[in-house]
Symmetry: C2
Subunit: 399 residues, 2 copies
C-alpha cells in the first residue's frame, strides 16, 4: 500500500525550471539562469566580525531559543533600516522576523488562504509565490504588467470581478519582470486597497538594488500619504539580495491582527528564525556596514546590467525587446520574431544550452495565460566579459 | 471590514502555557517551566571556531542560497552521527535538513494531513506537535503512556479502530513525559507499522541526553531488525537540545517518496535552512567536539535530575508520584491527593507562582482526556541549590 499524501500537494508540481537547472553543470556554460546575488559580493569580513561580536557579547541569546516574533535588537535595527528608506513609523513590534522572505509568503498563505480563495498576482510574478499560495489552495488571478509595473486600471477591474483575499505585488525591480511601479501607480494601488478594503502584499527584496536614482518610495512608506492604507498593507523585506541569502533573514510588517496570526503560525512552522543568524544580522546592521555594502553592489550590478543590455541590443537587434532595468538582478525580454527568427522562449533555452549559455524561459512565471516569447536573464553573477560572450552565444542560438 | 483569515486557524488557539510564561518575569522566581537546554552549557568556543572556519574556507557556500535538501557536508556529518548511534544505513541523501525539528513536523503536517485526517499521538505529547498538526486539520487520537512509554496493546487497538494516517511518538525521554519506550515495545511498534502499513514518526531530540546507560536503540536503528519497517518510519533529529537551539538545525529521515514531497513543500516554506547555521554545524561535527559536549551535558543534567527527584521525594513525599527520568530535561509527575492535598496541577501552578516557583501544568499536553493532576518540571536550567530551594517552595505551595 502506498503512502497517502495530503490533497493539497495535487495543486503544485515540481518546477519546470528545476529540470533546466540540472543542465547547468555542463562544463563551460555561461549561466544567466540564476536568481541569486553574486557570492563574490558578500562582505565576508563584516559578517565574520558581526558573528564574533555577537558570540562574545551575548552567546546566550545568539545560541538559545528566541521569541517567535524575532530577536529584539534585530527588530530594532530593521525598524531603523526601513526608516532610512522613508518608512519612518514602523515600530519594532510592528514587524516579525521570518526565515527568509519565503517564509513570510508561507505564513501569509497559511493565515489567509482557504482552498478556493481568490488572490491576484502579477503576470509574470515570482514562481515560488505561485507555488506557495497554490499549496494552500489559492485560486490565482493574473494582473497584467508593463514597463511601469502592474496596470492599475486592469487591477481595479480584477478586484471588482474577483473580490480577492489579497493582491501580491513586487513593485520594485520584481522577479522576473524587473519592472518598477511608477509613483503615481503606487498611490493608486494604495487607494484601491482602501476603497475595496483589500489587503496588498508588497514583496520588496530588490528595492535597495537601484543603479542610479533611487526608486519611488515603497508602498509601505507611501501609506503615510494615503489615509487608511496602512491597515491594508503587508510589507515583506529581506537581507538575502543585499547582504546574504544564507542567513535566511527576512521580515514582515503587517496590521496587528494579521501579525498576531502569522506569529502563531510561525510558532508551529519553525518556532523562530535562527537566533545565531539574527544576532549576526543585528550586529552587522549596528556596525554600520550596510551603506558601503549597498553602494558596492549597486555599482557592480548596475555595470553588469548595462553590459548586458548593450550586448543584447548590438547582438540581437530587433529580434528582442525589453525595458532596461533600473535596478534588481534581471533583464526581462521578449522575442519579437523579427526577421522570421524564433519566438519561443522555451525552445530558445534548449538551443542556448547547446551553444553554452543558459537562461530561464518566461512562461512558468505566469499563473495563467503565459507569454511564451519571454525570457529572464540574470546579469548578477557573471562578469562583464562573460556577459558579452554569453549574449554572443545567445545570438548564435537564435540563428 | 475586518480581514478574513483562513478557516484552519480556527483549529488552534494560542497556548495556555504562553499566558503562564508571561508571569515568569517576576523577580526572584525559580523556573522549572522551560523546555530548553541551559545556555551555560553551550560550547561557545567550539561554535565560534566552527563558524570562523566555515567562513574562511567556504564563504560562498555558507552565505549563499543552498539546496533545499540541505548543505551536503552537513548531511554527511548527520549520517555519520546517526551511524555512531546504531542507525548505520542512513545515506546522506536519505535525510533532509530542517529548520529545527519543528519544521520537520510542519512539513509532515503539510504533506500528510488533510482536514479530518486521523493521527495518533501519545497522551501526553509535545504541545507544539498537537497545534502544528491541528493547524492542517488533523483529528488527533490519544494513545496512553506509562513509565515504559506508549502502551502498545492499546496502540494496536487504536490503529485498528482509527486507521490513522500516521502515529507520532517521542520514544526516548519524551516531552513532557520523560518516559523511555522499552526495547520490547520499540520492536512491537515497528511490527505494528508493517502489519498495518501505517507510518510511524519518531521524534528524537532527547535521545542523546541519557544520564547513565544509553537508552535502547532508536526506532530508526531498530528498523534493521524488523523487515519492511524502514518503509514506514520517519525519524526527526535535532541539534537543539545537545548543541544549540539558536542554530535551528534539525533533520528528517523518511521513505523516498515522502522525503521528495517534504522537500518540495520546504522549497515554498523557507527555500532552505540557513546555510550559515548549517555550515557551522557541519564544521562543529567535523571538528569532533560532539562527544565531549554530550558527555558534559549528560553529567550536568543527570546531576540536576537526581537533585530534583531526591528533593521531590523528601519535600513532597506521597503527595506526588513520578518515574525518575533516565535522560532528557523533564520530570513528569502526578499529584496524588494524599493527605487531602491539592490534586489539580493548574491550581498548584498558580499557588506556586505566589511562592516564587514556576512549572507547567500537564493538562495542555493531552490532545484529549487530560489528566488534570499532572505537572512538568524541567531541571535543565537550574543549579542544584536552586532546585532544592524551588522544590521547597513547591512543597509550601502544596500546603
Amino acid at each position: 500500500m502506498p503512502l497517502t499524501f495530503a490533497q493539497r500537494l495535487d495543486n503544485v508540481e515540481t518546477s519546470a525550471i528545476r529540470e533546466l537547472f540540472k543542465l547547468l553543470g555542463k562544463p563551460g556554460i555561461i549561466s544567466f539562469a540564476g536568481g541569486f546575488p553574486d557570492s563574490a559580493m558578500f562582505d565576508v569580513q563584516g559578517i565574520s566580525a558581526a558573528v564574533n561580536t555577537a558570540l562574545q557579547t551575548e552567546p546566550g541569546a545568539a545560541l538559545q531559543y528566541g521569541a517567535t516574533e524575532g530577536f529584539q535588537p534585530l527588530r530594532e535595527q530593521l525598524s531603523a533600516f526601513m526608516a532610512q528608506k522613508g518608512a519612518k513609523d514602523v515600530a519594532p513590534d510592528q514587524l516579525i522576523v521570518t526565515t527568509g522572505s519565503q517564509q513570510a509568503l508561507d505564513l501569509l498563505g497559511k493565515t489567509l488562504v482557504d482552498p478556493g480563495s481568490k488572490a491576484i498576482v502579477e503576470g509574470p510574478t515570482f514562481l515560488a509565490t505561485i507555488q506557495c499560495f497554490r499549496l494552500y489552495g489559492a485560486d490565482l488571478v493574473s494582473a497584467p504588467v508593463d514597463g511601469d509595473g502592474v496596470q492599475v486600471d486592469k487591477l481595479e477591474q480584477l478586484i471588482v470581478e474577483h473580490r480577492p483575499r489579497f493582491i501580491y505585488l513586487i513593485p520594485t525591480f520584481g522577479n522576473p519582470s524587473g519592472a518598477m511601479l511608477s509613483l503615481e501607480r503606487r498611490k493608486r494601488v494604495l487607494e484601491l486597497a482602501v476603497k475595496y478594503q483589500t489587503l496588498i502584499i508588497e514583496d520588496d527584496p530588490y528595492g535597495d538594488l537601484y543603479f542610479d536614482a533611487p526608486p519611488p518610495p515603497s508602498l509601505l512608506a507611501l501609506t503615510a500619504e494615503v489615509p487608511g492604507s496602512r491597515d491594508w498593507l503587508v510589507h515583506c523585506g529581506s537581507l538575502s539580495k543585499v547582504l546574504s541569502p544564507g542567513l535566511r533573514v527576512g521580515w514582515m510588517v503587517a496590521p496587528a491582527a494579521l501579525l498576531a496570526k502569522a506569529t502563531m503560525c510561525k510558532q508551529f512552522s519553525d518556532a523562530h528564525t535562527s537566533t545565531f543568524a539574527q544576532a549576526t544580522a543585528a550586529q552587522y546592521l549596528a556596525d554600520g556596514h550596510m551603506p558601503a555594502t549597498l553602494a558596492r553592489v549597486r555599482q557592480v550590478y548596475g555595470q553588469r546590467a548595462r553590459t548586458m543590455t548593450d550586448a543584447l541590443r548590438s547582438e540581437l537587434g530587433d529580434a528582442i525587446d525589453f525595458v532596461a532595468p533600473q535596478g534588481g538582478l534581471f533583464v526581462w525580454a521578449r522575442l519579437t520574431g523579427a526577421g522570421g527568427k524564433l519566438k519561443d522562449g522555451a525552445e530558445l533555452a534548449k538551443r542556448a544550452i547547446e551553444q553554452g549559455v543558459a537562461f530561464v524561459p518566461g512562461a512558468p512565471f505566469y499563473c495563467a495565460n503565459p507569454d511564451l516569447s519571454t525570457l529572464r536573464l540574470s546579469f548578477a553573477t557573471v562578469g562583464d566579459d562573460k556577459i558579452r560572450e554569453g549574449i554572443g552565444r545567445l545570438a548564435r542560438a537564435l540563428g
